[in-house]
Amino acid sequence: MTNSVYLDNAATTPLDPRVLEAMLPHLGHRGNPSSLHTAGAAAHEAIEEARESVAALIGATPEEVVFTGGGTEADNLAVLGLSRAVGEKRHVVVSAVEHAAVREASRNLESSGYEVDVLGVDETGLLDPEELAAALRPDTALAAVVWANNEVGAVQPVAELAETCAGKGVPFHTDAVQAAGRLQIDVAGVAASTVALSSHKLYGPQGVGALYVRDGVALEPIVFGGGQERGLRSGTQNVAGIVGFGAAARLAQAELEERSRHEKELRDALISGATAIPGVRLNGHPEIRLPNNVHLSVEGVEAEGLVLFCDAQGYAIGSGSACASGGHKASPVLLAMGQGEREAFSAVRITVGKENTQQEIEGFLHTFKGAVEQLRQLSPLYAN
């Protein structure tokens, strides 16, 4: 579909042409940033400049930024690396609405003998800070709560959660992959030990991420080798990717307010247009949500057909959870919010970006309404 309208920005964002331009000189690279010669030094300088930009986006110092091979790797490094660095403690607390990168890493800990407590959420996907406080124990090695959920866009009270953990001396990790570039992130105001970021969710290239590691926090590496990234992530850096991430971070910082305002307008138009269709309901909190996230349950229809139908009409949207849509498994996030399996299978995610327009939203709503009607006519479970 040549003229397709892209409304799946939570899955990945299109590469910003200005970012591509910044990357191009580095795609024909010669230098390894660890080499002593001039070419190596130039590559080194480029990634250090990117490090400054990424650090600036979240109010950190460059020394606190470790580049990784993506958001998932950053989450894995935090969850495994923090818990392994605190000695004999064998208790971990995570929320029920973590991205799979944190959820599966905590399961890995569980299988090697850790006790994992999963904190529930309310029907809007939000965590109660008091529940976290009650779950912490003297042997808690780590607590992890996502900054903003990738499915329903629920924005957690991370400042309060991080404060609670800091008060008890428990390392706190937050996955800010969806939040960065959309919400103001300042590690001066949020006492997190580690924060995971990803480049391709803010118009940078895929395959690059970063972990913010607060100065003084003990972290064990999970990748071993030449000792790059202060020994926390060995392996020659992805120079062009990191440069792209840096450029994307600079743009995100400069344009954050404008993007956020624009996305919110589109989001709210989508919400009011879509929920006007009978039997279509908004999931998550009406206000405490990412500025670009719309998550809907469509009664009587399964999401997959809806997504493919819209796709055939030129609109790319996501089903319930992009990661879960490969297999017939209900989203754990929606189940944690108290939904049934059927409801969970009827969920679609529409996430706008800076390039979308009001006109596209209107066109989409028209197509969406038609798709819902046609699939409901096909459904033996929906009384028309």
């Binding site: 057909g305 493919l308 139908f309 055939a312 046609q374 699939l375 033996p380 479970l381």
Partner: protein, 485 residues
Amino acid sequence: MAYTPQVIDHLVRPRNAGEISEPDGVGESGHAACGDVARFTVNISDNVIREVRYKVYGCAACIAAGSALAELANDQTLLNAARISRSDLEDALGGPLPAGKEHALTLVLDAMHKSFEDYWTSHAEALLSGSFEEASAESGKSVVAAMSGGVDSAVTALLLKDAGYDVVAVTFRLHDGEKGSRSCCSPDTVLFARDTAHRMGLPHFTLNLKELFNQRVMQDFVGSYAAGQTPNPCVACNAHVKFHAAAFLADRLGFRHVATGHYARVAEGPSLARPEDSTKDQTYVLWPVPQELLGRTVFPLGEYEKTEVRRIAEDRGLAVAYTPESQDICFIPDGDYRGFVRKNVVPEPGEILDKDGSVLGRHAGVVDFTVGQRRGIGISAPTPLYVTEVRPQSGQVVVGRKKDLEVREVRVGGLNWFLDPSEASSVQVRYNGAPTPCRIEEDGDAWIAHLEDPAVGVAPGQSAVFYTADGDRVVGGGVVERQGS
């Protein structure tokens, strides 16, 4: 995971979507509680599908498969529609579905087949009420073959096809079974049998005989036990259900023959004869098949050894769902038939007597006892005790020594003769027993068999089957009646 353009096309431009308002048949498959649901409605006349409509709730694969199937089946003869296989459907959808989506094919096929099943049910009033009479059968080399999902019936259909017959496979839905259980006729087995038939390129139908089977076989089974008899449910099924149902379908389709995977032969007369493989001989349970039905029956396995049948299945790549052990009762897969009977009748405690009428103890219900039984009597004695008689009226169970079980006379009622009774020269009274030489004499509605040697453990309710002097042919059979009744 990526779908073919055909899947997307069926999704966006569905064919034959919707529902017929007053259909000849409705079928639904899947579970509404969670997961996919497909509903087919059909109009059928003169064995041609005049109209087909579908509705699907589920993933894109299910929706597209529904559309593709409805398009394939529309305007087809019923036989051609019943032949559409998973692989035909896959071809119509432009190739294999992504991994994990293959169930879509089974779902929509099952829904359409259930609409056919519903159509047959609404035309089978006489069959289902037990008053079925055959229509004048057509000529020609055409056969309806009963297929249970097991190796015997699968090979039966294959041999008939090889022999040049037009074959239609039919599976009978007899009882609810247990999902996942490997007993025949359970819901999973229907799917399996259908797939097996389709792999051979045969049309497949399912007939819902649950009500008939419940009345004529399961209730009869429970009632017989409660009446102190030892019923044989396979005999009851052959007498009232299986052959009649196959003949019903044959008549509706204009087919001549019916076939099952029994090990037996049809000899001239027509009469019933023992099969090639004497260890699998099933003539003992086939005696009640009415002679007119036997006359149009084919038993291809009568010419084969079981080991050959297994080898044919292996050589020809037939997967088989289960391997029936003939003594299992299909609707009691766990083998606990006492438990089954107890679920259906309230047992009443009573006395245990010896043959002189002295009370030896008490029991919890006559349903727990059958003539010849040694275990579970609950009375200790210097020599082993056997149940020699069950008296349901008085709730009494009579026990005695092994010698007390011996009889020289067996009274047989409810007879079905294939040959002249005078040809009877031996009688078999147990499934795995050997025939005992006998002389028979008519006695009112029943016949008395005078045995040359005493027989042990002849239980009322069991079958007594008479064989010719050469031991090869069944003269007729009936049911052992209570002594003195």
